[in-house]
């Protein structure tokens, strides 16, 4: 009897310990960042370009570029990702070997480290097609990074639509395309949106692939789609490396901004999910 109780208690303690470790690390990280970064978090960070003097430095070009990249990635990855998911979920015949091959590959691609996409992008997008080291190339590479995740989450969302909806549509004489475009897709939008935004917020924190394609350190002007750029995580990386302690503070402040952007996007995802969730 007591042995059972002790075991139960020990198990619970173990779980609480695991929770404490992960939460503790997170809290420690957040507190450290906020304590260091809050004094440097002011309007200057949003209005000034980077500078060699920490008191005058800001991250305006980097923040703008990160927002531009977010828009680009959504524009590219949503249509491609959703179309792929619709094909795989609604059209593809599972017994065909090439469809199974595609599936396995997409699952695997989701686990490929982002730096690999960076190398790929450098070879094929930047140098191959000759897009150059511009913001568009950054957007395209991060699109590649998020695509597998977008496809997988879109498929989950499509699969969650019950077959009775489809069959109802067919019973009324609708074509397959009519069923998909008028019933299945609208019903799965919340799920697709949530998955895509979560994938995107992960991509926005990526530094490695952008470093590879030369998301340059010092860009003092507002970015353009076809111009050189730096992104927020790259700017943080740069500042952390500089000798002056003032830059470490700036880096912490920029981390807070990046956190705010990512958390903001996650909040949108949660809102969409709870607002448009359908129950069948």
């Amino acid at each position: 009897m007591t042995v059972r109780r002790v075991r139960a208690w020990m198990f619970q303690a173990l779980m609480i310990l695991s929770l404490a470790i992960s939460m503790g690390a997170l809290v420690w990280l957040l507190v450290g960042t906020f304590v260091k970064g809050l004094p440097a978090l002011d309007m200057k960070l949003f209005t000034n370009p980077p500078s060699s003097v920490p008191e005058e430095a800001g991250a305006r070009p980097a923040i703008l570029a990160t927002l531009y990249i977010a828009v680009l990635v959504l524009l590219f990855s949503l249509p491609i990702g959703v179309a792929t998911a619709i094909y795989l979920e609604e059209y593809a015949r599972k017994e065909r070997w090439y469809n199974r091959f595609l599936e396995v590959n997409i699952q695997n691609l989701a686990a490929v480290p982002a730096i690999v996409y960076g190398i790929l992008g450098l070879a094929f997008i930047v140098r191959g097609i000759g897009v150059g080291r511009v913001l568009l190339a950054g957007g395209l590479i991060l699109t590649l990074v998020v695509l597998p995740t977008v496809i997988i989450s879109a498929r989950e969302a499509l699969r969650a639509v019950p077959d009775s909806i489809r069959e109802g549509g067919y019973a009324l004489g609708a074509t397959r395309w009519q069923v998909i475009s008028r019933q299945v897709l609208p019903a799965s939008i919340p799920g697709i949106a949530t998955g895509s935004i979560l994938a995107l917020s992960r991509a926005l924190g990526e530094t490695a692939p952008l470093l590879l394609i030369g998301a340059l350190t010092y860009v003092a002007f507002d970015p353009t789609i076809l111009g050189p750029f730096t992104a927020l995580p790259v700017q943080i990386y740069t500042w952390v490396k500089l000798p002056d302690a003032g830059f470490q503070q700036l880096a912490a402040a920029a981390i807070i901004v990046l956190l705010a952007i990512v958390l903001g996007m996650n909040a949108v995802a949660i809102f969409l999910r709870s607002r448009f969730r359908q129950k069948w």
Partner: protein, 347 residues
């Protein structure tokens, strides 16, 4: 008179340290021979005085891409900032920090206008530039640096080290793991080594000067491209030893001690400082920092304007970026070199 194409090798010893820090510059020209180059050069210096005034800064348009040494990054950033503030608002300058080697790689693909370097271009790199047909290029000395050997603040014994002692520690295959093996009389304390990664110009320079050959180094040390990691490592280990650029030491003086280096010629122990880097007594670890400019880019007024601005305001830029500025003599040489390049590109 038939002109034949020659590759003129300018021996351009711009720094007054004269310790073999010589730069060889490939520069392709149509001349009848090297002697002619010298004559043209001499005429160029005289003529440059009379050259029409450069365009006003606010008339300049376009973009300048620079990449290369992370040591030189803050300097170029400061230069770009001041250049923009002085009126060149429509010139878009970008400064990357791919490392000296990485910068040359891009430069030799023709991707950048300027390449920042903490060591001269290697022959191997020059050959790649040639094969890729990026045309001529030129090197300019823009600042000084004192490569600084750092130890922990509790290190009371290693005040001064000789090149031989450093080489004993850092050479390939070195088994030295304790301070007592470095010099008789040093305490029994484990050495913890920290140094830059192999793509860095600082690594190349240090290994060349200390171990006799660039990249010749033991590899069982904690390597990081991030100099702040080296600072943290050495300041946290009593037996820590590392090396980095002077500006990193200067910013962290309260946490680290700098080791004096025994000058191989005079036998005196010289501490790294602005003065000793400039007067050439901090040997052999004082070095010059360079900017390489592609000939085709140099023809563009915005690139030329930017470089002219650097040489007109070198001291202010170095001060802002906390670098060791050029001595008046070095600056004069750099200016002459620049004026020659202007003259050559006008043809």
């Amino acid at each position: 008179m038939p002109h034949h194409r020659v590759i003129a090798w300018h021996i351009d010893n711009l720094d007054n340290q004269g310790d073999g820090n010589q730069m060889r510059i490939f520069s392709e020209r149509r001349t009848a021979g090297v002697a002619a180059v010298v004559v043209i050069a001499a005429v160029g210096v005289l003529a440059s005085v009379a050259v029409a005034a450069p365009p006003a800064l606010d008339k300049l348009r376009g973009s300048v891409t620079a990449d290369g040494s992370s040591t030189l990054g803050p300097y170029m950033t400061a230069a770009a900032e001041l250049f923009s503030r002085a009126g060149a608002k429509d010139v878009r300058i970008t400064v990357g920090i791919s490392g000296t080697g990485g910068g040359f790689e891009r430069f030799c693909k023709g991707e950048t206008d300027l390449s920042d370097a903490s060591r001269p271009m290697k022959n191997k790199e020059a050959v790649i530039c040639k094969t890729n047909n990026i045309g001529s290029w030129r090197a300019f000395t823009v600042a000084n640096d004192a490569l600084t050997v750092i130890v922990n603040q509790d290190n009371t014994w290693a005040k001064c080290l000789s090149v031989e002692e450093l080489s004993k520690i850092w050479d390939t295959g070195s088994k030295v793991g304790n301070w007592k093996d470095v010099r008789a009389g040093f305490p029994d304390q484990k050495i913890k080594l920290f140094g830059p990664g192999t793509d860095s110009g600082t690594f190349d320079y240090f290994t060349e000067k200390i171990n006799g050959k660039a990249k010749r180094s033991r590899s069982d040390y904690a390597a990081s491209e991030d100099d702040n990691v080296l600072v943290q490592g050495v300041s946290g280990e009593k037996g820590g030893l590392g090396y980095l650029g002077y500006s990193y030491y200067e910013a962290n003086q309260s946490k680290l001690n700098a080791v004096s280096i025994k000058n191989p010629k005079t036998g005196e122990c010289v501490a790294p400082s602005v003065a000793t880097a400039q007067n050439g007594t901090y040997k052999p670890l004082a070095r010059s920092l360079f900017v390489y400019a592609k000939g085709a880019s140099f023809k563009r007024p915005e690139v030329q304007g930017f470089l002219r601005y650097i040489f007109d305001h070198e001291v202010a830029i170095a001060k802002r970026a906390k670098f060791i500025s050029l001595t008046p003599a070095q600056l004069k040489k750099s200016r002459i070199n620049f004026d020659l390049a202007v003259k050559a590109s006008a043809k």
